[in-house]
Amino acid sequence: MHEATAAASSGLLARALKDAAASAAITALLLVPLVGMHATEGPSGALVLKYRFGLVAIFALLVGGLRLGLHLTVWRGDSARGAAPRFPALARLAGPAGDAAKPVFFAVLLLYPLLAVLGSGGLGPSRYWIDLGIYILTYVMLGWGLNIVVGLAGLLDLGYVAFYAVGAYTFALLAGSVPISDFFAGTLGADFWRLWSFWVCLPLSGLLAALWGVILGFPVLRLRGDYLAIVTLAFGEIIRLVLINWVDLTNGGAGIASIPPISFFGIPFSSGEGGFANLFGLEFNPMHRNIFLYFVILALAALTAVATIRLRRMPVGRAWEALREDEIACRSLGINTTLTKLTAFSIGAMFGGFAGAFFAVRIRFVSPESFTFMESAVILAIVVLGGMGSQIGVAVSAILLIGGMEMLRNLTFLKDPWLFGPDFDPSLYRMLIFGFAMVAVMAWRPRGLVSSRLATIFLKERKKVSGDLVREGHG
């Protein structure tokens, strides 16, 4: 008996060692050409090779060691693999605990600027934290917008950034338009358009983006999932290329600058008479505008979330989720699939358009550079990693990914000479980690971090459907 277990464990060790050695060898082979050799410009300007085989050896040993460790610990008994949900805390987020957490979550978001100001000691120093909050919330909003399309309706949209661009350019072009400004100068005062343009253009941006969603979506939404993904990608790229090349309208790659800043519903954030600070009896500080921007994006994100929650309870929302699970069943039940898809596509586009207008008023500069495929990929990564269809999951993953990547920039200890050296730039690894995370999540947790959800419609009692229990077929 004792001998048998000893033999089994030595067999296990031998197998583990063999596997570790094999994976280390494959890693080394994969890395030698592109990591081990670096084509770089030599002194004469021609390309020469530099060798970094030490780095390859380190990676190979790391991978081998990791696999050996996993074999000896986690993967010991094969039967235990993948049985229990691996992140019970995250799974609870969607359940009753999540319901209780939501007001707390929202309260923290509301109080965040106050906390930032108190924590960093004054309005001026809090600028970094406020801006980071705005940045993350923009992605939360975009994630929630795309979540309607990808998470609820199950349509893989790789060109979401096109609608973001439509929103941003709508606002930038209308706000900078001289005829409109002159028109209002004649009737409502010289400053009217400069002060009110954002508030007038915000709904217009959303509507125009939704209209583009209908125009682009109508012909393509009959296509099967992966074709749809590629066509939306093509549309996203076409819109970006048009923005670059239609120089007369968009000023091409140079972009549009001099976009008017946001106003507090018509009151400018300026230092003089009649400015925001003057009117409310505060000492002027440029941070007032940033804090206001924070609340605007918070309101927009909240609008997206509330609209989504309400829509999910309406027939159209139910139809989206049914469509995601089984398109053929939907069609046999008489749901107009094209129309249902179109509503999801254009409502998602509308929120993208709102976010775009906000982006333009925050940065006060738009250029096609900001609307590349990578941007779409980041938003998609947020939705996929958070758990398609889960609002709280998308918010958590936006905070983790965008905030985490921002934190990566601050890890100055990595620049230590004995670790990576002063030339090391952690933010270069941002997209690398995004890509890796997408692959890893698909392999281990295809439903995302928050994978369980409450059924929106139920018979007698409401049950929690865990993502681990859902066996998905080919819809």
């Binding site: 390309l47 296509l223 076409i238 990564a381």
Partner: protein, 305 residues
Amino acid sequence: MDIFLQQLINGLTLGSIYGLIAIGYTMVFGIIGMVNFAHGDVFMVGTFTALIAFLLLTTLLGITSIFLVLAIVLVVAMAFTGLVSWAIERVAYRPLRGSFRLAPMISAIGMSILLSNFVQVAQGPRNKALPPILPDVIVVWDSGSYAVTLAYKQILIMVVTAVLLFAFWWLVQKTALGRAQRACEQDRKMAALLGVDVDRTISLTFVIGAALAAVAGVLYLTYYGVVNFADGFVPGVKAFTAAVLGGIGSLPGAVLGGLLIGLIETFWSAYFSIEYKDVAAFSILAITLVFMPQGLLGRPEVEKV
């Protein structure tokens, strides 16, 4: 007429490269019904491997015969890119068989981002330029004001493409591997019941597709002499367009589509506007998928309930 002839030569050269990449898309789609979004970046890895191998052979080993260098580069790039694609399939796609329908696509998008950023981090973001390879040209036709030329490298590209396509056609039509592959394409479960190792066949499909993409990469490097980590995306989408235009799943279709896309792109740049050449390619993709999803040579897809 003279400009037309020149554009025809250029378009066929470009089309050969697209056709070689398109085969990888169409084969993978045929066998597992998945759009291998990372294939364009696999092509980019092929160009970088070719660049490294080229530098290794010319600067370190000092081989001067350009044809010998290109032949070795071709073999090295095919082998290495095949290995990369094998590893990708193993890590990113195989665990997802039987997962929900968008999972492989999302994983492939992640892989595409991973590959291009890996190369950016490992090799740097700047363009890498080689001195011109095979710069000589033959004057085919001289009208007095305009000379139509055929570069040696264009001949090389067309010849290599033709030879490899023939070899590949033989592989798919006449060998046991090709038979297994076509069997898996028709019915994976039935093929498995009849003793075909489906996993191995799928792996080999990825390897072959990647090897052909690597050939395209070597030819691309020879033709343009410049590579960049971001160069996988646009050629990848265009090659996918070629696969769709020719009828996805159909091998002759992929080559035909590649040539057509190459011709359309060069003629569009010559006669309409060079700025909008990518818009033309992307529009063809959308139009084909909407109005003619079965492509030129493909079979219409039947949806089984």
